[in-house]
């Protein structure tokens, strides 16, 4: 009876709940379960174990979060924190970055080429970003990019444009590692944007110091047709704070994070909460996905997690949350542009070297036109992303611009990943070349909400 129950198809292995099994199907399914049993390994019936490194990550930890930093409370509760002023463009259409932005892009581009790209393949397999790479990211100032100068950061004005350029440059190295490296800075940027004096004084010193904590913005939930603006995670008001319940998925570096920003519904409105990972009631599971694997994606389960009244980040009317969602989508657009550029830069020499029928395949229009379309759509994605970013930096409304950028980056970014693999043929399908990874990474745009922001 119990065996039959557990062999009912649907709801797992990618089967629809409409599937039914006939008797032979049940027999095959039972055999398969036996084949998966540890027993046959113990008696030496299986030839070789093919443990992939990540599967250890996958089921290896299911525990309370690992890190337990205590953030010493400081600053004035309820007093508005420091805000970086908006950029003030002169109304001139211009595609030239400022000198500061260009310097930053040059540094990050070099880092992406020399450090990030060479580490990408292994980080994808192990689902972890190398310690040294993350340290180097701290040295170039990634976590404090969006933190106002007076709070120890480097941002003189709203950093959305600079952040976009940096995310693009990093993702040209690798999207997964870019997300891993940018996640703490996203939390710091959010504190700079919306934190009270107390929140900024309590948390930001950790990000501007030497021992920067892992931290992540957790908005995505495991729901079909997920609408980030209506999270199922709930926050209930109590006498001295709030109690959070719910599940968040695809949280970058969730297992090592010491501080989360978690989205939850409070009285029907989506609200951001600052939650320290040491708070009781949080469990973390590995949640590796199709791509962005180097970011050590994890699932957070919150069971009666009690947070103090001042854990609310920003407004409780949904406006802060909405701005956060938009800035996060902007970051994902920038990541898509960077990865799309990586694809274009990779296929260009490849199709010129690869020969078929006695000449480079690039000499054929069907191949060359695919490359042309990658270039055209990539530049389209970039321009839409920059427009949204420059409006965000200038403090203008950018709801429309970021929505259009996200739509285009999701659609065309995926097309670029798809065509990238196609242009390499069978070679695109194997891990000898990075295009299959970019294909998996580019599917994240349009799916991921939160995780990073600019």
């Amino acid at each position: 009876m119990s065996l039959i129950q557990s062999l009912k198809p649907g709801g797992k292995h990618g089967l629809s709940s409409k599937e039914s099994r006939d008797p032979i199907g049940y027999a095959v399914a039972a055999l398969n379960r036996l084949a998966q049993s540890d027993l046959i390994d113990r008696v030496g019936l299986r030839k070789a174990s093919e443990q992939v490194v990540f599967s250890a990550t996958r089921s290896g930890f299911k525990a309370a979060t690992t890190a337990n930093r205590t953030f010493a409370k400081a600053g004035k509760k309820g007093k508005q924190g420091v805000r970086a002023p908006a950029a003030t463009p002169k109304g001139v259409f211009d595609l030239t970055p400022t000198e500061d932005e260009q310097m930053l892009v040059d540094v990050v581009t070099e880092f992406a080429e020399e450090v990030v790209r060479p580490a990408a393949a292994e980080a994808n397999e192990t689902c972890t970003a190398p310690e040294a790479l993350l340290k180097a990211g701290l040295e170039i100032g990634l976590p404090i990019l969006g933190v106002p100068e007076s709070l120890g950061g480097i941002s003189e004005e709203r950093s959305a444009m600079a952040g976009t350029l940096v995310a693009e440059a990093l993702a040209k190295g690798d999207m997964g590692l870019a997300v891993a490296a940018l996640a703490p800075g996203s939390v710091a940027t959010a504190l700079g944007l919306w934190g009270t004096d107390a929140q900024q004084q309590t948390y930001l010193p950790a990000f501007t110091g030497d021992d920067v904590p892992a931290a992540a913005l957790a908005l995505t939930e495991p729901t079909v047709l997920f609408d980030v603006l209506s999270p199922s995670t709930t926050a209930e008001k109590t006498a001295d704070g709030f109690v959070l319940n719910g599940v968040k998925t695809l949280v970058p570096r969730g297992a090592e994070a010491e501080l989360f920003i978690i989205g939850a519904s409070l009285e029907g409105e989506p609200v951001l909460f600052l939650v320290e990972s040491s708070t009781p009631g949080i469990t973390v599971d590995g949640d590796p996905a199709m791509g962005v694997r180097a970011a050590s994606l994890a699932k957070l389960t919150l069971t009666d997690v009690a947070v103090p009244a001042d854990a609310v980040l920003g407004a409780t009317d949904g406006t802060t949350y909405l701005e956060c969602v938009r800035l996060s989508r902007l970051a994902w657009c920038a990541l898509a542009v960077g990865t799309g550029q990586a694809v274009l830069d990779y296929v260009t020499p490849y199709v010129k070297q690869r020969e078929a029928f006695g000449e480079p395949i690039a000499h054929r229009q069907s191949v060359a036109f695919m490359v042309a379309n990658i270039a055209i759509e990539l530049q389209s994605m970039r321009l839409l992303t920059y427009k949204a970013a420059s409006r965000a930096a200038a403090g203008k409304d950018f709801a429309r611009e970021v929505a259009l950028a996200r739509k285009l980056c999701a659609d065309k970014g995926m097309l670029i990943g798809l065509d990238g693999v196609q242009l390499l043929g069978g070679h695109g399908f194997v891990k000898e070349h990075p295009v299959e990874r970019w294909y998996r990474d580019l599917r994240a745009i349009g799916v991921m909400e939160g995780s990073v922001l600019v």
Partner: protein, 405 residues
């Protein structure tokens, strides 16, 4: 500092163009779609008004002739100049009506050609002349390097003698002149191709017939025959020398300037369809929500978001190409990207808008079906979609036209 909003200084210009398009072009849009080959007499008044604006400086030098590049100043400040003003005002006018824009006196593509390659003396001489463009021949479309129309120098008379047949000449009957591409020596290939300004009424030039078309029916499209047609030698644009090394570059430079303009036409036409369909959808109870994921909205709203995203891409690629021209940066690649994207997006948007609006879209009672017909030519003339892709591919891959055919 990166800023991709429409240039603030051209806001009055585009608002003005928008009002002209709304109040002058739209009311006669269907009339001249139905009455093909009839001259839109209303346009003379409009042309006079535009000339007036241009005298006053209010038009910022915008228009077909606004694509001229001055390479004087060693000024490093970022410019928003006549190229940007031109694409923006042309997009607005085409939001009104593409066919009528193409029929506007002194706004022909020939004027862009003159502005692009004429020397100072010629620019002055042809100022105020309405010029059409004659490149295509019955056997020669995209491969404009293999045109057969010949130009033979008659040094005694100091003139060139043109012989050949040109088709698809926009405003070929109405314009004051046509810019004709002809070869000085077919054996010397593309380097020998030069363009000539041939004034209307020159003996030996005959408008053979006018085409009946799918769209842009307000604009006349002529077949012109040249039979021992003599044009003064000083009407040859640019240098009369056949520089085999420079090749086709001179004549092709025109396209770097006209392609963003055609992209602007597609952007304007598609915007007309988007604006109307958005309104029709709202009346049907469908609001476009920019913050909710497209997959959680209705299929119509999701389609609209995709179309608007593609439109915005075409719009920004158009602005980028014009901005580069304003700032004296080479923009062949970006001009072709803009035209490729705008051309295909223009068709997708106008055709999808017909589908979304159903019979209202298909019926002549609305203009949606007309825009879906008008937009098609914009993915064809001044270089088809495929030619743009070829240009982009060659540039990106660093391949010659011999390698990537």
């Amino acid at each position: 500092m990166i800023n991709l909003d429409d240039p603030r200084k051209f806001r009055p210009l585009t608002e003005q163009a928008h009002q002209v398009a709304m109040n002058m072009l739209r009311p006669i849009s269907r009339k001249y779609d139905l009455a093909e080959h009839e001259y839109p007499k209303e346009l003379d008044m409009l042309a006079a008004m535009i000339d007036g604006l241009s005298e006053s400086g209010a038009s910022e030098g915008a228009g077909a002739a606004g694509v001229r590049r001055d390479d004087k100043a060693e000024d490093t400040t970022v410019k928003n100049g006549t190229n940007l003003a031109s694409v923006m005002s042309i997009a607005e006018m085409c939001w009104g009506d593409v066919g009528l824009l193409l029929s506007m006196p002194r706004q022909g593509l020939g004027n862009s050609a003159i502005a692009s390659v004429a020397n100072d003396e010629q620019s002055k001489r042809f100022e105020g002349v309405w010029a059409g463009m004659a490149i295509t021949e019955p056997d020669t479309g995209s491969d404009s390097a293999s045109i057969k129309t010949t130009a033979t120098l008659d040094s005694d008379m100091d003139c060139y003698v043109l012989n050949g047949e040109k088709i698809f000449v926009t405003s070929g009957e109405r314009a004051d002149a046509v810019v004709v591409w002809a070869t000085l020596d077919r054996d010397l290939g593309r380097a020998a191709i030069k363009s000539f300004v041939v004034p209307k009424g020159t003996p030996g030039m005959k408008v053979e017939r006018l085409e009946h078309k799918l769209g842009i029916r307000a604009s006349d499209t002529a077949t012109i025959i040249f039979e021992n047609c003599r044009v003064p030698a000083e009407n040859l644009m640019g240098s009369p020398e056949v520089d085999v090394k420079q090749g086709f570059a001179g004549a092709m430079a025109t396209f770097d300037n006209t392609r963003p303009l055609v992209a602007a036409m597609a952007v304007g036409c598609a915007k007309a369809a988007l604006d109307l369909v958005r309104d029709l959808l709202e009346q049907a109870g469908i609001e476009i929500d920019y913050d909710r994921p497209a997959i959680t909205q209705s299929a119509a709203a999701a389609k609209f978001l995709q179309m608007e995203a593609d439109w915005e891409a075409a719009h920004l690629l158009m602005l980028q190409a014009a901005w580069m021209a304003d700032n004296r940066e080479p923009n062949s690649l970006e001009a072709s990207m803009a035209k490729a994207k705008a051309g295909r997006v223009g068709s997708d948007i106008t055709l999808s808008c017909v589908e979304l609006a159903g019979s209202i879209g298909y019926s002549e009672s609305e203009l949606l079906e007309k825009w879906a017909r008008d937009s098609k030519i914009l993915d064809i003339f001044e270089g088809t979609q495929q030619i743009q892709q070829l240009i982009v591919a060659r540039r990106i891959l660093g391949l010659s036209s011999a390698e990537l055919k």
